[in-house]
Symmetry: C2
Subunit: 232 residues, 2 copies
């Protein structure tokens, strides 16, 4: 009889049945159930029994995969964060028309952040951040913060091309983001808005926001180029 367990201590190459608490499919299944429950009830109100039911997995199994409720929530947020901010920064990769790029990126950002699903997730994190500050911090750091950094890189590039004149790029990046949201985030997270803003609404806000931003930071060169390409 071959001792597979001994081997797995060196190389986990077993193709067969996963060890207890190691099956990625089951893990995903649990997280999927947890997502539904946590997001629509909040951290405190969500019960492990609810998750058990929603995930179609026994309670004992959940506790094989996750130490406790808090760790399960963390794992969920980790995943959620990944999907929220995925593919959001691609539009910044190819530098063409500055205004168009800003509008396109701002629109994508605004739609994502104010979508019902994402707002609910953020509400849950904020609510939990009351008692587990590190969790909120981690979410911000690996989510919004990364976006902010990516925007800074983009603005730096625009400055280097002489299209923008910015003293404090860090601050300007924040200003840009906020201009693209212009009240939406607050309204959504306080559930003053019960529905996500319409596409038209967002486009109006972002267009105006980019306009403000460019009026403040656009160089003569930028406006000259824009006039030139408009008349072309």
């Amino acid at each position: 009889m071959v001792d597979t367990t001994a081997d797995s201590d060196l190389l986990d190459l077993r193709k067969g049945r996963p060890a207890a608490g190691q099956d990625p499919v089951k893990r995903a299944q649990i997280i999927e159930g947890a997502r539904r429950v946590f997001i629509d009830k909040g951290f405190e109100a969500a019960s492990m029994n609810d998750i058990t039911r929603e995930a179609g997995v026994s309670k004992g199994t959940i506790y094989v995969y996750f130490e406790n409720k808090e760790e399960l929530f963390e794992a969920l947020i980790e995943e959620e964060r990944g999907t929220i901010f995925k593919n959001m920064y691609e539009v910044l990769d190819h530098f063409e028309d500055l205004r168009k790029t800003l509008v396109k990126f701002g629109t994508g950002l605004s739609i994502k952040i104010t979508s019902a699903k994402v707002i609910q997730a953020q509400r849950t994190v904020v609510g939990a951040a009351d008692r587990i500050p590190e969790l909120g911090a981690r979410f911000y750091e690996r989510g919004p913060k990364r976006g902010h950094d990516r925007v800074m890189v983009f603005l730096d590039e625009a400055v280097a091309r002489g299209l923008l004149k910015i003293d404090d790029v860090d601050l300007a990046a924040y200003q840009f983001t906020e201009l693209c949201l212009a009240g939406l985030f607050r309204q959504c997270i306080f559930s003053y808005r019960t529905k996500a803003p319409t596409q038209a609404e967002i486009e109006k806000i972002v267009t105006s926001g980019v306009d403000v931003f460019l009026k403040a930071y656009g160089t003569e060169k930028f406006f000259a180029e824009e006039r030139a390409s408009a008349s072309a």
Copy 2:
């Protein structure tokens, strides 16, 4: 013997002992205890027994003054909202120097909203809004919304004086507010920042925000006047 109870049905002029659940002092005492507990534990995690202890009031008494946990929380938020936004709009009442007024108002707003106490209160509301959306909506409506309306009136006046040129005042008011916060709100509410921003930090942000705002919406007249008064 005078029947005071009968009179009180018409006119509650009794100076004596308040009716059950009517003593404003006791009520305030309960709310004060509730504030401490709710704000540092969040709605779900706060227990009525905690509040009992913190308020130095028996549980039965609390339930004489408030129907249930939720109503007590509402009453607290109602009060809190009142104190948060008190005296914040006075600076907009006397129209003198536009830029200075905007900076002064923006600074006050930013300090208030990002103060540890207010952030915690907002986090609690956001967390609760997950399960009681009307509560969050009411908070926003009677708090931030009123501020927004007040800013709109101010901007309207500036437009009327020919100092600003704004197509969409509603949107511009949002933009102004967001420029004054520039990332602070998000950082604070996710507890990425554990401490409130410094005065210097806020002043830098607000000064820059007002600058952006005026570059975008200031009229020739405004800049001419500013140049004139600068050289004077």
